[in-house]
Amino acid sequence: MALLQISEPGQAPDPHQRRIAVGIDLGTTHSLVASVRNGVAECLPDDQGRVLLPSVVRYLDKERRQIGFDAVAARAQDPSNTITSVKRLMGRGLADVTHRAAMSYAIGGGDGGMVQVHTAAGDKSPVEISAEILATLRYRAEDTFDDELYGAVITVPAYFDEGQRQATKDAAQLAGLNVLRLISEPTAAAIAYGLDNASEGVYAVYDLGGGTLDISILRLTQGVFEVIATGGDSALGGDDYDHALADFVLAQSGVQTASETDKAAVLVAARAAKEALTDADTVTFAADVGGQPLRFALQRAQFDAATKVLTDRTLAAVRKALRDAKLKADDLQGIVLVGGSTRMPQVREAVAQFFGREPLVNLNPDEVVALGAAIQANQLAGNNGAGELLLLDVIPLSLGLETMGGLVERIVPRNQTIPTAMAQDFTTYQDGQTALALHVVQGERDLVADCRSLARFTLRGIPPMAAGAARIRVTFTVDADGLLSVSAKEQASGVEASVTVKPSYGLSDDQIATMLQESFSTAQQDMQARALVEARVDAERMLLATKSALDADGDLLDAQERTAIDASMSALRLSAQGNDAAAIEAATKALAEITEPFAAQRMNAGIARALSGRKVESL
């Protein structure tokens, strides 16, 4: 398939085989699924017409669970089994969780350092809980289209580290979704706005969700979205405004909470008051605490004052992102507000004042992220014939290696456009040293202890030399998905070692397999049947693409190469008539491999055309 698209980028091999791809906004408070239908991105509603799915899962017992609105309705009575804001626990160890006291459910440490939530159905990892939400959205989409999904683009806060991203991918896999890409929420919002408004210029996206703040600075030119800088705070969001308001009311009224139920009731009331204050200047804060009614007349000014420290923290993050982008507030063409928390008047005012202009709010802040993700999903599924959109994303956090004394040597600085490969030379520090331990870390701090540990591996077999004589080149490669692989090579002897980074808070493939069997017991036979259909479709696409490529540029090959490709095509045709999915996949792979140099040559020609096109223009 590679081959066909190289001559005509973006054109789907067969317009009749449209692939169903969705964008999913897996939010702290709400989640949504959207898809491009008839050229327009739209959010998919549930059977009652609601597009928002509250990101809440309630475990009733071992078997039964409620997801979404039903779980929300039960929250006040059953707080300890009703899991809200699970996104804040994704990819986190127990030590990372700073808001434990404010949570209405109990957590503990689990295998591999991952947080576990104690529920009536036993200990559940945040990955499993998120998978319930994702699976609900997957079923909604499959019901809407009455078909299986090809894949999904899932959004994450720009500030998510590798561990948090991996946990999100694991949850998607557990929910039976093929992840086409994780993209950052502000970027998705910019895609939705950019295509909607056909805007050009530099934009800031201020995304204040339930649990996270994301700031991204993007440049939009001719359909290319270039992320210039990202920043934010992965532990600051609307929830914190609820907590601050609850604390303020409790302190003012001298009431104390005695139980988890009290805490949950006060938080629910705080959230309701916060939302009411978007339109009203005064509201009554009402909750039952310990069986006693708590009533408090609340003014918006009090709420603003009680949360000013939070709003100021968001502006500090904006300032930092602008500095990373080497821009000033008045260099921007517009400010996009995303996330339900940007409905709060004090936030809008603070942002407008900071930038000296009114922010853009014409798209629904709850939906805009899912819409942008759907547009990118459609593109990545190969459905977008025109291929107008290209996203040039960056890595959000620096990647480096531990060096002597627990210090970090930065190899790939944050905000570097991906894909990228960067190398640095290291040496041995002892005479006769034959091995070098490499510790890969992520973060902006100088001490390893303050960064997130991603992976460790060892380069062995270095020939004994004097200290400092060996030259070991360490290369960090980050692909377009933001996935990191690290390789080390001693230059004189050629010994090598490498690792693909799978952060420690992710799940192992075995764990995912086990969970898949346990919670989504898809019949073995169904899975095999599906695998066979998919393998045949892929084989057919590959054959078609190879044929068009040969028709167009077959004269680039010599006779021997042509014979080899023809033989491989025949082998694939034969194998596709059989019922062995693995054999078909292997034959497809073999054809892909044998045609790769041909694909490379055609791609090369494409770039050469771009070069010559440019020369004509500049004459």
Partner: protein
């Protein structure tokens, strides 16, 4: 197997050849930006996202190479360093730290000034001085490379600029401390 030769040649093209711009220090930043996007439009792995692993690998190689060239071309110090290296006068910043005495004197004065800074106004004055020093060094690079073709002298100037940039980072860090 003629095509293998073409691929090798193109991936090993200089940054200037890849971007089809003159191999000079002076560059039009807007043209580089536009060219970068044009190339990524052709080669980015997302353009071939549904097309299998083989196309992904090839696209990734190109895309990485284009990003590498762009990063180097758009940054004047890295660009100058690259030109010096292409002309056999590598900068070797790690091994070669010998600088003229008057330059070192000025660096020491700046360091002292930074240590004594107590308010934003003083820091901004220092920042302006550093910016002016950087601009002077860049315009002298322009002359040394594009007019005189004196690459060893340009390499020396690049090393000086590296000192100035490092100091610039320290000024930024101080600015953080002072809460700006």
């Amino acid at each position: 197997m003629c095509w293998r030769f073409f691929i090798a040649m193109n991936l090993n093209d200089t940054d200037f050849e890849l971007f089809a711009v003159p191999a000079t220090f002076a560059q039009d930043r807007a043209a580089l930006d536009a060219r970068w996007k044009e190339l990524q439009r052709e080669a980015h792995p997302d353009r071939f996202a549904a097309q299998g692993a083989a196309a992904q690998r090839v696209a990734m190689q190109w895309s990485v190479r284009i990003n590498e060239a762009y990063q180097r071309l758009k940054d004047p110090v890295r660009r100058a360093s690259y030109i010096c290296e292409l002309h056999g006068a590598p900068v070797n910043a790690e091994n070669n730290t010998a600088m003229p005495p008057d330059f070192l004197m000025q660096q020491m004065e700046w360091r002292e000034a930074l240590d004594e800074v107590e308010d934003i106004a003083a820091l901004e004055r220092l920042q302006a001085e550093v910016d002016a020093g950087r601009a002077r060094a860049l315009s002298s690079l322009d002359w040394l490379i594009d007019e005189k073709g004196d690459y060893p002298a340009a390499a020396q100037q690049v090393r000086a600029l590296m000192f100035i940039e490092r100091f610039g980072h320290d000024v930024e860090a101080k600015s953080d401390q002072l809460g700006q």
